[in-house]
Subunit: 168 residues, 2 copies
Amino acid sequence: MTTIPSSEDLTTTVFAKRTSIEQVEEGYELAPKFDDHGLIPCVTTDADSGEVLMLGHMNCEALQRTIEIGEAHYWSRSRQQLWHKGATSGLVQKVSELRIDDDQDAVWLRVKVQGNGASCHVGYRSCFYRSVPVGEAYRPNQQLVFVESGKTFNPKSVHGDALNPTVL
Amino acid sequence: MTTIPSSEDLTTTVFAKRTSIEQVEEGYELAPKFDDHGLIPCVTTDADSGEVLMLGHMNCEALQRTIEIGEAHYWSRSRQQLWHKGATSGLVQKVSELRIDDDQDAVWLRVKVQGNGASCHVGYRSCFYRSVPVGEAYRPNQQLVFVESGKTFNPKSVHGDALNPTVL
């Protein structure tokens, strides 16, 4: 079993140091930028449909494990711990492709979701299950539109009494 | 011409107040959560191909303008100003659909890009033009793979001497 060092060690020893704009934008080295909290945002889409499933965050260790194991790992901000997505629910996200953006401060995962194919703790396939009408000024009484035909699973039966990650 | 109040006013007067987890997750009110910097991350994808074009950030005003005008507006963190994407380059992002996620702390825009169809300041169609091989432990000498066949435009001819947004 590989011993994985702490996030701070990883940032400076595993990935490349950021030395120039040309290196970051045009180069072949992975030199990710983690924010003040040691996190990098990660967009996760369905590899087949292109649907955006969720926007998560990774610390250095989550990014390293995702690359090594080929399954999505995130940093849970609500639980403050490494999060192997689907480890308890079975809804593992197998990574088809991992991309980094121009300034290397964002990750894009294309995944195939195991089990019932859902990625949202509320029970929907995608976390983005509501749309906002566009093309006119927003009115306070304007209603969101639910775009999925229904929930894919009952969150109570999958997550039980686990901490709800939503923070007000 | 509409007078748009400051971001702080907007947060508390234009959009709904966040009052409960049920309201935020299951409700019909738009009650977005802005972070400590007053920003909400925004995933922008091509409405036809599903390709992730960029990950941007919006302040309250950018979100309001995007909804009202139907063209993507962001907050430029490098320039610290409202950014109507494509206003100078012509590469405007027309919004086909705007979605909000379960805990309403992330936005997804599906867009049709005008002009040559590119969204990346480096000249590529997508900002995510490099992939990272997965399935084995990351090695320091591992190389990123460029996935687009080439740049869509010459950034010098479009952006000239404008400030490069990449921060080391």
